[in-house]
């Protein structure tokens, strides 16, 4: 399913995008304006019009995807077209600008467009790759089940540790009370906790295996290790889902900013014709 965004309808929208870019490139190569090629020639205006129109249409995807079952085209068509025509905007807007950049709002618009397109590409990569990793990692278990299992393990660990020495008990108590799954954005994206109290507790118990109560300690270690595995999988799950979301926090605000920049670009260019 995920790959089918890219090869949807036998690359129909890819072909459209390639055709569009090829036509623009040929026109650019044949066009011979006075002075450097720029957005102010007839071809410049044409390419700018196409790129600007595409940008508005691409942004409309944000509206369209919220409306299920509306319109003639299925959402898959929209998404496939969104990806390929979005890439085409990069080429067309570059040709529109005649490869010129400067310290001005027009270049800011160009940079915003690049950020939106690159973040979109990253998003496509995530969407193609991560859903399979997620389901492999979940192994059919829901998050609630995994959290439930961890809570149960915590309870058992504490009970076992109650009978053991204070240091072990303290380590286990720390593991059960202070192991954080997810957390801040950075922690979610990182997907692991180098100071994880659960891992610290396991290492502590493993080191102090000679202090007696060997049977209880082995029970404890088994449970801590099971918890560790569950925590690792949960963290990976959270990490993958965070990355699946977080690129949108670049993609969407930058595309809205780019739309504003596009409006300012058009108004100022024609105000100062």
């Amino acid at each position: 399913m995920q790959e089918s965004i890219l090869v949807y309808r036998h690359l129909f929208y890819f072909k459209i995008a390639v055709g569009l870019v090829a036509a623009a490139a040929v026109a650019y190569a044949l066009h011979n304006p006075l002075g450097q090629p720029n957005g102010g020639t007839w071809l410049g205006y044409t390419l700018g019009g196409i790129a600007g129109g595409l940008m508005i249409w691409l942004a409309w995807f944000g509206v369209r995807k919220r409306k299920y079952g509306v319109g003639k085209l299925p959402l898959e068509d929209w998404l496939s077209a969104h990806v390929y025509l979005g890439l085409a905007v990069l080429a067309i807007s570059t040709l529109h600008a005649g490869f010129q950049v400067g310290v001005n709002i027009h270049t800011v618009l160009y940079v915003l467009t690049i950020i939106v397109i690159v973040s979109g590409l990253i998003g496509v990569y995530f969407y193609v790759r991560f859903p399979r990793l997620l389901s492999e990692n979940r192994r059919g278990m829901s998050m609630e089940i995994m959290f439930g299992q961890i809570a149960e393990l915590d309870r058992e660990m504490r009970q076992i540790a109650m009978e053991l020495d204070d240091a072990t008990n303290a380590a286990v108590l720390d593991a059960t009370q202070n192991t954080v799954i997810g957390g801040s954005l950075i922690r979610q994206l990182r997907g692991r906790d180098p100071d994880c109290p659960t891992t610290a507790a396991r290492m502590f118990v493993e080191r102090s295996e000679t202090r007696g109560h060997d049977a209880r300690r082995r029970q404890l270690i088994t449970r801590i290790m099971r918890k560790e595995e569950l925590v690792r999988r949960l963290r990976l799950d959270i990490q993958l889902r965070a990355w699946l979301r977080v690129w949108l926090f670049v993609h969407v605000p930058c595309s809205i900013a780019a739309l504003v920049a596009l409006a300012v670009h058009i108004v100022t260019v024609f105000y100062y014709w």
């Binding site: 959290f147 109650m162 957390g183 979610q188």
Partner: protein, 582 residues
């Protein structure tokens, strides 16, 4: 010691259950260990957390090393416990209810801080998706839109007000205004050309009307004398009808000039110039380096009627010749030795006569007095060695000679042996009226002789073309006159050349003056000579030279191409003081 330990458990719905445990022991240990008399089953309690004992009928509590114990909310070490005192051991509150003389004590133990539900605790500290970390797509999108609008529109817009100063902003001085107005340049699509930079921050200087392209009327405020490329009445196809200044002159292209210099711009038409004007005398050109017609100097072919001609090239076979009306052999003057009347034999260099003008482009006109006179004396009578002919019109000269001889005759002392005694008399000797008439007759005759002789006409003929004129009988004529001399100042009037920028090249490299025997020779180089150093626009091994290196698009002497400069700028009416922008 007997001890009743009362475990209190509060139910969620308000009920309380009490379970009494009776123990008898010397000391009562409290902890989570199973061997403790006061069993406190919670992981936050140490195995052996504290110990109670009786001394002198009082109860004492002592915490285990590293164990926390509070007595009535104060951290405590070994302490006496009185009835009613509350002890905190981890999450448990232990209260001494009764102490019957140290024989029997009653303690209550209550878990007042339960651990709570594991799952609940775990979930409460786990943020499992991005939406829960304070990020909202919508608010970030709003921020993005707002930042873009403020930075890209509001800030430059406010800055733009500084160039249309309101009374409030007038308090800033010019420099501050420029700094404040700098963000307006964020709207600029590219750098302003070098020449326009000094007003380039003020967008409205050129962009006078919003949403209307820059008009020619704006350009001519400064550029008022821009002429056509061709005479629009004659070459209608090259009149550039309907084109605006900015059709060709593109601003905002960076730190250069808006003047066009690309060869292609010219070659578009000039490669097949007959297509544009069938009767043009111009020849096709595509590149200076390898496809430029040879130079055809504009030479004077009739000095009297001032007729010029531009047909023969500098490569022959027949070379152009100028109707110079002058005799001047360059070769003789450039011999290794020429005779100077005072300095003996000298050798002349080109720059002894030809001086570059102040602009460095062309040569200053030559003059007899400055360039010829040192060697070429105009003395006309060996017996009057202190007088020379004036180098001017023949009429002036005739009058001068006549006046000189009149004066000599009247004064006397003229030493030529064949002249009358009266003229040779001691100078200053008075003359009778009859004698005066005699000497003046001599003077007239002598003057006319001289004018026609080898020191009059003959001297002029050395350099000038002299022709006979009818003697009108008046006193001004001399029977001959001199062809006017009007040497061509620029043989290539449609091209620029700077002698100064070619100053390191020997004159003779381009001007083969040593081989020239006559003033009629046009000693100019041909195109091949220039092409030995200069190539076309994209030349790799020669100086890249485009059309406008030598030629101008807007040509002198043709009608104005654009609109006239608006009257308010050309009039002498002073600008109202209040309209002057500070």
């Amino acid at each position: 010691m007997k001890c009743t330990i009362r475990h209190i458990t509060r139910r969620a719905r308000g009920g309380v259950s009490i379970r009494d445990v009776e123990v008898e022991s010397e000391t009562i240990r409290a902890g989570r260990g199973n061997d403790c008399e006061l069993h406190l089953p919670d992981p936050r309690v140490l195995l052996h957390h504290a110990e109670f004992s009786i001394r002198n009928r009082e109860m004492y509590a002592s915490p285990a090393p590293g164990a926390d114990m509070q007595l009535n909310d104060t951290l405590a070490q070994v302490t006496r416990v009185s009835p009613g005192d509350k002890l905190r051991l981890g999450p448990f509150e232990i209260v001494l209810e009764e102490n019957r003389d140290g024989e029997h004590v009653v303690l209550t133990a209550e878990l007042i801080q339960p651990l709570g539900d594991e799952l609940e605790n775990l979930l409460s500290r786990s943020k499992v998706n991005v939406g829960r970390v304070g990020l909202s797509m919508r608010s970030w999108a709003w921020i993005g839109a707002l930042v873009a609008a403020v930075a890209m529109f509001v800030v430059p817009w406010i800055a733009s007000l500084y160039f249309n100063p309101s009374p409030l902003l007038m308090v800033l001085n010019t420099r501050d205004q420029r700094v404040a107005a700098a963000p307006t340049t964020w709207w600029s699509t590219g750098g302003i050309s070098s020449a326009h930079k000094f007003f380039g921050q003020s967008c409205s200087s050129c962009h006078a009307t919003p949403f209307v392209p820059v008009q020619d009327e704006t350009c001519v405020v400064c550029h008022s004398g821009i002429q056509h490329h061709t005479d629009p009445a004659v070459f209608t196809k090259a009149s550039f009808e309907g084109q605006a200044c900015q059709s060709c002159h593109k601003e905002h292209q960076g730190n250069s000039t808006v003047a066009r210099s690309d060869q292609k711009f010219c070659v578009d038409c000039h490669a097949d110039i007959k297509d544009y004007s069938g009767d043009t005398r111009l020849r096709n050109v595509t590149d200076f380096g390898n496809d430029h017609p040879d130079f055809r100097p504009t030479v004077l072919v009739d000095a009297a009627l001032q007729i010029t001609e531009r047909s023969k090239t500098m490569s022959g076979p027949e070379l152009p010749r100028e109707d110079a009306s002058l005799k001047f052999p360059h070769d003789k003057h450039l011999r290794s030795e020429v005779k100077h009347p005072e300095r003996g034999n000298i050798s002349l260099e080109c720059i002894d006569c030809h001086e570059v003008d102040a602009g460095g482009a062309y040569m200053l006109p030559l003059s007899f007095d400055r360039h010829c006179h040192q060697c070429h004396s105009l003395k006309f009578d060996v017996y009057i060695p202190d007088r020379e002919m004036i180098h001017g019109t023949p009429e002036t000269m005739f009058k001068q000679i006549r006046d000189v001889y009149d004066a000599v005759a009247l004064r006397g002392g003229y030493e030529e042996p064949e002249s009358p005694a009266l003229v040779r008399r001691r100078p200053g000797t008075p003359l009778t009226p009859e004698e005066k008439a005699v000497v003046l007759d001599w003077s007239r005759e002598k003057a006319e002789q001289t004018i026609k002789g080898r020191f009059g006409r003959g001297l002029c003929e050395g350099c000038h073309q002299v022709f006979d004129t009818p003697l009108s009988g008046g006193s001004t004529g001399g029977g001959w006159s001199v062809e006017p001399v009007s040497p061509t100042h620029r043989w290539f009037p449609a091209a620029f050349f700077s002698h100064r920028s070619h100053g390191d090249v020997e004159c003779g490299t381009c001007h083969n003056a040593r081989a020239s025997t006559e003033a009629q020779d046009v000693i100019m180089p041909n195109a091949a000579m220039c092409q030995s150093c200069h190539g076309g626009e994209s030349a790799k091994s020669r100086v890249p030279s485009t059309c406008v290196t030598c030629h101008s698009f807007h040509r002198e002497g043709l009608p104005l191409m654009g609109p006239k400069r608006p009257q308010i700028f050309g009039s002498a009416k002073p600008i109202e003081p209040q309209s002057v922008v500070r």
